[in-house]
């Protein structure tokens, strides 16, 4: 039997302790952080320790025709690591070394299993930061976040993961090892392969080494908190702040449902009578920060918002604690939490917030919305119970409508969580059939047998009409 042979082969290459086959363990790899998806058991789990071992795994996968699902911490929100067709889950967690910090070139070279927070803790003494900061940065791996091109709270000013990936080492679907990019700021050698693999969701190759760009930590920051009587004035403030040439590091919004939930859960004195709150942070050198903060306050006040400035680290921490409590507080309300990340151009934020409220009313669902307002990346969060079939029907229809609304405003299906399994069927809505065909050609050029993370993002050959 080929699975048995594959296990035998892999054990001889990786050692017994790196090839896991007990059902008691495999069950724990049949899902990830994505709600409302079917689960599937893999045949085995491998935990390679070197790039050569990864290459051996891929060669064995080819020989025994077993799909391979790369996996970091399994915190993705699009079903990216569910082994839908059985086969091999390849965990990167034993490749977790920071290989180099290079303060002269402002780069770090890491293995894929390094946790984002660990990298930041290690570079902090050098006065440097790695800006991409997904809410999951204390758990998510560098490999997973490169493969998802994760965003985060600082995306507005500092961009997302792809803006920091400079070089990659990748094991290709045939087991070859290739390197692209490097430490130079400028690099136009051939196609931009680094960008192709960044955000490829494990469908084109296994990332085994990453060179990222670091930046000096901002000297100072100022944090402000504003409340609004309606969504329109909140939305107008967001666009006007940017139009005034101020790019805050973060500009986060919470709607009333979210605020009420956070307040019920933590009693931190949030103004639940207002329709929206904005949390704005500007950072940089002191003079600029002072000037930009004044502009932010002026714009908000002019638009009828009530603004307060955090008087020190303690108040700042409290404000951020409230923001961070958004998802947990919502999640406590009902057993199942469906978190979307439909994204629209910044100027359409108000329209999108209203559309989501409307959809919630029509389908009689509780939807709390919060998110990265500055970059148009909203997280409409549907609170439900996956055991209630009738309600789940309504949830699915509401999700369809949220995507339709985002696309009709010139937005996108996903700002940072990726397509994976969860959004694969919506892909033609944004790309059209022709666009999806281009994806398939790229996939087949690099992975003709569909061995790498099949069933994610790109539809497999037999799924095509």
């Amino acid at each position: 039997m080929s699975v048995q042979e594959a296990i035998y082969t892999l054990r001889s290459v990786l050692g017994k302790e790196n090839v896991i086959t007990a059902k008691e363990d495999l069950i724990c790899y049949s899902f990830d952080a994505t709600a409302d998806l079917p689960e599937h058991l893999p045949d085995l789990l491998v935990t390679p320790m070197t790039v050569e071992q990864v290459a051996e795994v891929i060669k064995a996968a080819n020989r025994y025709k077993m799909p391979v699902y790369p996996r970091g911490s399994g915190t993705n929100l699009s079903g990216g690591t569910v082994p839908v067709r059985g086969g091999i889950v390849l965990s990167s967690l034993k490749m977790n070394k920071i290989l180099e910090i290079d303060p002269d070139n402002l780069t770090a070279t890491v293995q894929p299993g390094v946790i984002i927070q660990t990298l930041n803790n290690t570079i902090a003494p050098h006065g440097l930061i790695y800006p991409p900061d997904p809410g999951s940065m204390a758990t998510a791996t560098m490999g997973g976040s490169v493969a998802e091109c994760s965003g985060g709270l600082r995306g507005l000013k500092y961009g997302v993961t792809r803006d920091y990936v400079m070089g990659l080492e990748v094991v290709l679907a045939n087991g070859d090892i290739a390197r692209f990019g490097g430490k130079t700021v400028k690099n136009v050698t051939a196609y931009d392969m680094v960008r192709l693999f960044t955000g490829s969701e494990g469908t084109l190759g296994i990332i085994t080494e990453i060179i990222v760009r670091l930046i000096p930590a901002p000297e100072t920051r100022e944090t402000m908190f504003a409340t609004f009587a309606d969504l329109t004035t909140a939305g107008r403030s967001i666009t006007e702040i940017i139009r005034s040439k101020v790019i805050p590091a973060t500009m986060e919004i919470m709607d009333r449902v979210t605020m009420e939930t956070v307040e019920n859960h933590a009693q931190i004195g949030l103004p639940t009578e207002s329709e929206a709150i904005l949390l704005v942070e500007v950072d940089g050198i002191p003079e600029v920060v002072r000037r930009e903060a004044a502009t932010v306050r002026e714009v908000i006040t002019r638009n009828g918002g009530v603004v307060k400035t955090a008087a020190g680290d303690h108040e700042r921490d409290q404000l951020w604690a409230a923001r961070r409590a958004a998802l947990p507080a919502l999640a406590r309300k009902r057993p199942t939490t469906i978190l979307e990340d439909a994204t629209v151009p910044r100027s359409k934020i108000t329209e999108m917030l209203l559309a989501i409220q409307n959809i919630g009313r029509r389908y009689n669902l509780t939807i709390g919305t919060f998110g990265h307002a500055g970059d148009g990346n909203l997280h409409p969060t549907i609170l439900t119970d996956s055991r209630d079939q009738e309600e789940m029907e309504r949830v699915h229809r509401a999700v369809d409508e949220i995507f339709k609304a985002a696309l009709s405003m010139g937005g996108t299906l996903t700002g940072e969580h990726g397509i994976g399994m969860a959004k694969a069927r919506y892909l033609p809505w944004e790309y059209g059939e022709k666009g999806v065909q281009v994806l398939q050609k790229i996939k087949e050029a690099l992975d003709p047998e569909y061995l790498l993370n099949p069933g994610k993002m790109v539809p497999c050959r037999e799924e095509r009409k």
Partner: protein, 420 residues
């Protein structure tokens, strides 16, 4: 038998796990292994599979439900899930289905019967020349595996137990109040000096102390490992011993023992006629020594003498996250003149002992301890203060093996030294 120790009773808790994986960030076990089955998210998925009938009892499955029971995941979980309840229910189901692994059975047998434990440990003291060899650190390392790893350094058992060396009742003339002292096994057999310190603090604060000599193991080693029927019998016996006493409080010197009195007996005896109410009363009366000496019967600060050392504090999981006694030990340390207190970077991170876990998973337990040792070394402290004898044993094992030459004191010992 209380039927709450079943997975169906924690079905809602299981359903509330949103699988975010946040618990990975603080789980010391997961951080060593990198396996999902070590961390709460994976264990909850296994519990769910058991509930759904997708997987049945196997010894491997029973092993997957084992962990440090350090509550770090509880504290991190954004959904506020009572993860420990799920684990305990799962372990209870495992024990009922196929029995616990051999070592735990042994423990159950030894701890169930106080006579046996007493005899067992005393025999061990007599036999220690045969079984153990002296270690340069002054502890002993086993000559034979004994189910322990050969490298482990076990403290010498006290030749005379704490309770053997004390009167059952220590009265203070004109006492303000009277308490019962539940000593716990490790204080009684291994660290009698902690017991003496507790008595000293109490009497100097004008509190009379009763040390019921029939008291026995609090049952935590059983309850935490799912051996619920025996744990329940022991809880009943404990109630029989303590709830009749005419005392204002029951003082404990160990977070895990405290948790048994304050939480576990109530859960174990919920609805048990004649016992449920008494268990709740006893729970309300129970108080850790740090809490008691700081809040209930404050010690006389005028009596404090200077102690010149640099110390740090390790927070025991079951005292801090378990009982919520987090500030009092620090207040006590800060009040003692002369002490140079340097906090750990992660005072609340588990030391890796976790009772029987350190016997069944010695290597992982020791690797977890290494993080703690590095943190301690970073402070430059001469001594570590902590509120749990099991943590102390673990730390002393590490200090001896790494040749670090540092000492460990129970918070009560430190205070008693200053009150001398």
């Amino acid at each position: 038998m209380n039927h709450d120790f079943d997975l169906s009773a924690v079905e809602e808790e299981i359903a509330n796990c949103m699988r975010c994986g946040n618990c990975q960030a603080t789980c010391p076990y997961y951080q060593e292994t990198g396996f999902e089955s070590s961390v709460a998210r994976g264990k909850i998925a296994l519990a769910k599979s058991v509930l759904q009938g997708k997987i049945k009892y196997t010894p491997t499955l029973a092993e997957r439900f084992e962990c440090l029971t350090c509550y770090a995941c509880n504290a991190t979980c954004p959904c506020g899930i009572q993860i420990d309840k799920i684990f305990l229910a799962a372990r209870a189901v495992m024990v009922r289905n196929g029995g616990s692994p051999a070592f735990k059975k042994l423990m159950a047998a030894a701890l169930k019967n106080q006579g046996l434990l007493d005899l067992g440990l005393k025999t061990a003291t007599l036999a220690k020349g045969l079984l153990f060899q002296p270690h340069p650190s002054g502890g002993l390392s086993p000559r034979f595996p004994l189910g322990l790893d050969l490298r482990r350094v076990v403290p010498s058992l006290s030749p005379k137990t704490f309770r053997d060396g004390m009167r059952e009742s220590v009265t203070v003339p004109g006492a303000k109040s009277k308490v019962a002292f539940f000593t716990g096994c490790l204080v009684n057999y291994v660290y009698p000096s902690t017991g003496r310190a507790v008595v000293e603090i109490l009497t100097k604060s004008g509190v009379s102390v009763l040390i019921p000599w029939k008291q026995h193991c609090c049952a935590a080693p059983l309850a935490l490992n799912g051996v619920m029927d025996v744990a329940e019998q022991m809880a009943r016996s404990q109630i029989d011993l303590f709830s009749g006493l005419d005392v204002d409080a029951v003082v404990v010197a160990c977070g895990t023992c405290g948790e048994s009195f304050k939480k576990k007996y109530v859960e174990l005896l919920d609805g048990a006629p004649g016992y449920a109410g008494k268990a709740r009363e006893l729970a309300a009366k129970t108080c850790d020594i740090a809490d008691f000496a700081w809040n209930v019967a404050p010690f006389n600060r005028q009596l404090l003498k200077e102690l010149a050392m640099r110390v740090t504090y390790h927070e025991p999981c079951h005292l801090g996250r378990g009982l919520g006694v987090t500030k009092e030990p620090l207040e006590i340390i800060r009040t003692i003149p002369g002490l140079d207190f340097v906090p750990l970077r992660e005072p609340e991170r588990c030391c890796g002992n976790a009772g029987s876990f350190s016997f069944t998973h010695y290597d992982i337990s020791y690797n977890i301890l290494k993080h703690k040792l590095a943190d301690i070394s970073g402070t430059g402290a001469d001594a570590v203060v902590t509120g749990c004898s099991a943590c102390r044993m673990q730390l002393e094992d590490g200090f001896a093996q790494e040749g670090l030459g540092k000492r460990v004191f129970h918070t009560a010992e430190l205070l008693a030294m200053s009150l001398k």
